[in-house]
Subunit: 770 residues, 2 copies
């Protein structure tokens, strides 16, 4: 096939190929310079095929103009077999371009975006399409380095059947820009994409999609986001942040995603026929959060959501009177009608964000006291969740909301009673996974202003002549599925990795241990025979590994004689280290666990159980930018440390922090010289879970005795905290902890002897970020 | 014709009448109860005729529904012969209603509006029309009582060929409401109306038209304001205040109106083909003031405008970064193209309102430091005005504006030089009144983004194939007129009053004087023979009157022995009193001139020349709410007064004040016990001229000697001030005056002996109103 491999030979193909129009040419290129050369002579109808293989450090710039009938196609030779790696990216400018089948992985963009619908201000893409592409784990080396994976500019552009997952750095995965008249009235289409997992970031700016910004929130955007799957998009509190006008979100599935579809700025959004699926475990999976004016929220199905406040199934916020452009406008003229809430905890939260009681720590321009006005909730259905009794949670007076013909399956014992919310008998039927419908039909619907425009139900059935309350017209056929995962992303791409079988590796001495650890595969278990392992260098962990004693009653003992720059365990991005039933001893000058110093591109996890750790400087030291999704300590003993867990390197007060979930249970801390825990989150930010500490069943004694010690457990700014059933003895500190009252933090059943005070401070003065 | 006068007889008219459809009925009614009765049985296609005559205190409520083909018509029996007087008003609710030919006068509305397109929230008017109606001088009794003359609600309503003039109280003449989903996407049409004189108000809230408010500024309004005449609409700085999105202003004429078409809130307005006409005298006649995003300003013709800053021909403002909802958003993405500026003073002002130098007196949320961004000025033409050399005035760096293919008739010696503003030779031709066009054609036009949508010129000529710079495609035919006054307002109505001939009434004694004054007609001149006129009661003036000595060298002397509650002259609303060459003497306890205490519904004027006035408590005392358009004192002598001019009763600090223009020239003030002048304006307000004082060529001596006196001329908050060529001798005050430096006030050539200081204070701390 010399004809195909030689550079820039033009192959005039026949109609039968299905790829090019008659008379147009197919160019096959195998590197950037061939591609650029081909582009020089490209004409409408042409196709440029990129050869299969790895395209490393390839910055592709496409400037060309096709036509509606004869677009220009840039495609992978075989879809999914052209890999853009290293520092690659793609910018396109011009009319009617189609980008098809590319795969970005193993690297990160050297610019602000991976794929951008604009080359420069004079070359903006219009009427162009990105399809069947994948961007996977193509994340920056540092969390704080900001980029976007797809940037929309121009008008009438489309992204369809793409897969994007694994972004853990700052910046929305997909960003629509609306700055400049060339980039408004966009009518962009974002459809049938698979937005795969976006991990928790531990800081703001981790939306999966952001459409506009507060500065351009007055623009008519008309972005259509429909039929996409958002699968465990956990970056921050906003999965989608809509910040412009006239956007439409329809028939998307939000699957176990810790956040909400948020109407953050801009007005007159349509949210129709979407599906929000939670589970029994997470309290962070939300639904729709409403700010601003004129939105229509119809035919949506909410299932098993346990989120509250900002993450409620339906959160209607309070605004700031005469709000600054970038803060919170009042909610007015919003209609939420024909929605169904199944097994959700209190589905409707009103005046979310009301903070009039925080005027001592916030400026007047942050006080959300403007209640929703002219809001209509009509023809909604709430059922399931038998323990639930309060469909409404209100953080302020509910005087601007009209309730009409809403029906509830349980008795409403909440404060907000209204004839427009009526309890009825229900019989429920599980049709398929996540889909539960009532046997009953409630046909007495409220016909409000412009309600005649709500013509169909969730599944597209016409409401005319057969209208009823709720998102779904019943009966539904028995084979009805809520959604089909196959409809999302490129057909050639499988997002699920096959799990490798668990492998146990036996280890009997220090040398062998170091060697086998270095060669281990992710998921391996290293089982150490009883004995002493003397180690003089850091063990580097960059994958999922378990290290445990072969016999938990005869613990292997690791003795580390490294210096202060070299910890016992050095944790790299994506590492997940489990320490089980070990004894670990340092030389008092070194640290036990420490992250890589920089470029902690993704989260790490650390579990310690049944172990004894002593004689270290710090138990865990993280670098700035490092982020642990989970740190879990159970049934362990710590002694003779200068510092315990130190998770306080994010000191810029911009909402970033070093760990999301920290569990410390049933463990003992003795002779910890300064603090047992320093867990810090700074900056007035509401976009994250905000850190979570469970400290229970522990004993802390003879600690905090150094001169500088003031607090044993520092948790400033951490939102979620449980402090229960601990014993504190002989700790010479002023405070054991200072808890944040406004977040509901309070100590439970702790025993305190000769130790400091557990104080509760209601409000926290935080640095404003916006 | 008993059949017509008897109540509620239904007359089935034939097609030939042209008023009703076949089968529909004509009801003739002669009072409210007949009208209400008729409404009970009204059906689509019906007409209700209101009988000619005066309908006093008639509150008309129309609730009915016509159809597009068969509207319901409420009409005057003869257009313009049905007078709604006293406390009357009209509310309509329903579909396809037409209101035709009514005349509101001699009274004021008892509610918040004269004509309202809404009865209540359940009865809003849609698809309805107000036509051929007049509202004249139907103003509230007090300036501070707020109302609107026409209130738009609903959708698709029309006001055409109406005449509205003479509103002098608080509140825009016409107001479009956008609150609630029923009242957005309005597509209202306001066309061919004659907005007659709206007098200066001396305070804010005196727009001729306001579309929305800051609270509803996010709504899509789509109000169309086209082909209207705004004739001397001088209420305040905003003739039209557009506060919503997607409004269109086209082919309107703004004739000698002291204000601008202001894009105050909201975005994406179209301003096309409008005509702005000023004159040689006024510095307050403006053009277009731009705030916010995405406006297109095309094909407009600006003639002889002398306004600057807020009142510039084209004022592009600075915004407040992250502005509060009700203040100033940044200007972005605005296009001003194909406009023509003839004989205007520096037509383009950028960063208007920049006030970074006032941070000592204003909070950060009032500082307009955000400069215009992505603004394009292209294909504009500037000519005439040979003395002019600076087309641009900039109050901040001009770095966000692109100039493309603009052409200028004079050399630009200003600071802002740009290749996009080119000087060319011009020959000009006066085609008709106010219409001057160049002989040259400048055909090199800039073709910017979306410029292809600018398809026509000011007169509707297609630009295709014949495009050129400026609003007008040349040549134009010799009979071209800029506009025709006949196209505006009801055809039956003549707005111009025929002037009554001047009448001189001779007076020789006090009794005769009082009698003739009481019976005088507006415009009369009372000529007093030499002698002394002893008067013991107040002379009431409620019209335009001149009182003068028959022989100016032998002055008549009026001696007033009234008490302190009764001034020599009591001035009523609309009074205009000229005192010429008289001697007027009080008894030291009474006042010389004093307004009516309350209900000063309209402005008064006072001119004093060649006269001697002495022995009064106050020279002029006004009531709160009173407003003088002009007070002029020349060549007169004042002696032995406690207080001179007192114009300081508006102390609420809401931007109101008591007089617009105060001239005091070539006069002498002796032994004025406290202040010669107290002229006050309070509140941080930018919507008015702000008061204007000329104090020149005067001598003030032996005044301000009372203990409390501190300042001789108090002018706090007054914007325009000239203090020149005066002599101050032996006045025991600390200050002669404290001038406002930021407004350019400075004393010129005054002589000060044994008097206080003339101080300049740069910035003034004012009470925020918003």
């Amino acid at each position: 096939m010399r004809i195909l491999t030689s550079a820039l030979l033009f192959l005039f193909v026949t109609i039968g190929s299905g790829q090019t129009a008659p008379g147009s040419k197919l160019n096959i290129v195998q590197n950037i310079s061939e591609l650029n050369h081909a582009l020089k002579s490209v004409v409408p109808g042409d196709t440029i095929q990129m050869k299969n293989g790895i395209w490393k450090d390839s910055e592709i710039v496409i400037k060309a103009n096709g036509t509606a009938e004869l677009p220009i196609v840039i495609t992978a030779q075989e879809k999914g077999k052209v890999f853009l790696e290293g520092q690659s990216n793609l910018k396109i400018g011009g009319d009617y371009l189609i980008i098809d089948g590319l795969y970005f992985r193993n690297g990160h963009t050297p610019s602000g975006s991976v794929i951008q619908f604009k080359v420069d201000n004079d070359h903006i893409a219009n009427n162009s399409t990105l399809t069947n592409c994948v961007i996977e784990d193509y994340t920056q080396l540092r969390r704080e380095t900001k980029d976007h994976w797809v940037e929309f500019w121009g008008r009438n552009n489309t992204m369809k059947n793409c897969y994007l997952a694994g972004k853990s750095n700052s910046g929305p995965t997909l960003r629509v820009y609306l700055k400049g008249n060339e980039n408004i009235n966009t009518h962009h289409n974002i459809t049938n994409n698979y937005f795969g997992p976006r991990p928790r970031k531990g800081g703001p700016h981790a939306e999966t999609m952001q459409i506009g910004s507060s500065e351009t929130s007055m623009t008519p955007a008309y972005v259509n986001v429909s039929n996409n799957l958002f699968y465990r998009c956990n970056g921050e509190v906003e999965i989608i942040s809509s910040k412009s006008n006239f956007n439409s979100f329809s028939h998307n599935v939000f699957f176990e995603s810790e956040g909400s579809l948020v109407l953050r700025h801009g007005n007159y959004a349509t949210i129709d026929g979407n599906i929000f699926i939670g589970n029994d475990n997470s309290e962070f999976i939300g639904g729709i959060r409403v700010i601003n004016t004129g939105h229509w929220i119809t035919n949506n199905y909410f299932y098993k959501l346990k989120g509250s406040e900002f993450r409620s199934p339906l959160a209607v916020m309070n605004g700031i009177p005469k709000s600054p452009l970038n803060r919170y406008n009042q909610v007015t003229d919003v209609v939420a009608a024909y929605n169904t809430f199944v097994d959700t905890k209190s589905p409707w939260h009103f005046s979310v964000g009301s903070n009039t009681d925080k005027s001592d720590v916030l400026p007047a321009t942050e006080i959300r006291s403007a209640r929703p006005e002219r809001v209509i909730l009509a023809n909604n259905l709430i059922y399931g969740n038998r323990e639930e009794t309060t469909p409404i949670v209100a953080y302020d007076t509910v005087d601007g909301v009209s309730f009409k013909n809403n029906i509830l399956s349980y008795e409403n014992t909440g404060e907000i009673q209204n004839t427009g919310i009526e309890t009825r008998e229900f019989e429920l039927k599980k049709v398929s996974e996540h889909l539960i419908v009532p046997h009953q039909k409630f046909t007495d619907v409220y016909e409000g202003f412009d309600f005649e425009n709500i013509t169909k139900d969730l599944f597209g059935k016409p409401r005319k002549d057969n209208d009823q309350v709720g998102a779904i017209l019943t009966p539904v056929s028995n084979d009805t599925k809520l959604f089909n995962e196959k409809n999302y992303g490129p057909s050639w791409f499988k997002s699920e990795k096959t799990a490798t079988p668990e492998r146990i590796v036996q280890v009997s001495n220090a040398e062998e241990f170091q060697k086998k650890l270095a060669n281990a595969a992710s998921g391996d278990i290293l089982e150490l025979a009883y004995g002493i392992y003397e180690i003089d260098r850091s063990l580097v962990v960059d994958k999922d590994l378990t290290i445990r004693s072969k016999n938990k009653d005869k613990k292997a003992k690791l003795k580390f004689s490294t210096n202060q720059d070299n910890p016992a365990f050095r944790l790299k991005p994506r590492s997940g280290l489990r320490i089980e039933n070990l004894e670990i001893e340092g030389n008092t000058g070194n640290n036990a666990f420490q992250t890589q110093d920089k470029e902690m591109s993704a989260a790490f996890n650390l579990w310690i159980s049944g172990s004894k750790i002593k004689k270290f400087d710090q138990l865990l030291k993280v670098s700035k930018g490092a982020f642990a999704d989970t740190i879990s300590i159970e049934n362990s003993n710590f002694k003779n440390l200068r510092v315990g867990l130190s998770l306080a390197e994010e000191t810029d007060d911009k909402g970033e922090y070093n760990a999301e979930f920290v569990f410390v249970k049933n463990s003992t801390f003795e002779q910890i010289e300064t603090e047992v825990l320093n867990y810090y989150r700074g900056g007035y930010d509401e976009s994250t879970i905000g850190g979570s500490l469970v400290f229970s069943g522990n004993t802390v004694k003879d600690s905090g005795n150094s001169k500088d010690s003031e607090i044993l457990l520092r948790t400033r700014g951490i939102v979620n905290l449980e402090l229960a059933n601990n014993t504190f003895i002989n700790n010479k500190v002023k405070f054991i902890a200072i808890l944040w009252g406004a977040k509901g933090q309070e100590p439970v059943n702790n025993t305190v002897e000769h130790s400091g005070e557990i104080r509760i401070k209601e409000n926290l003065k935080q640095k404003l970020m916006y």
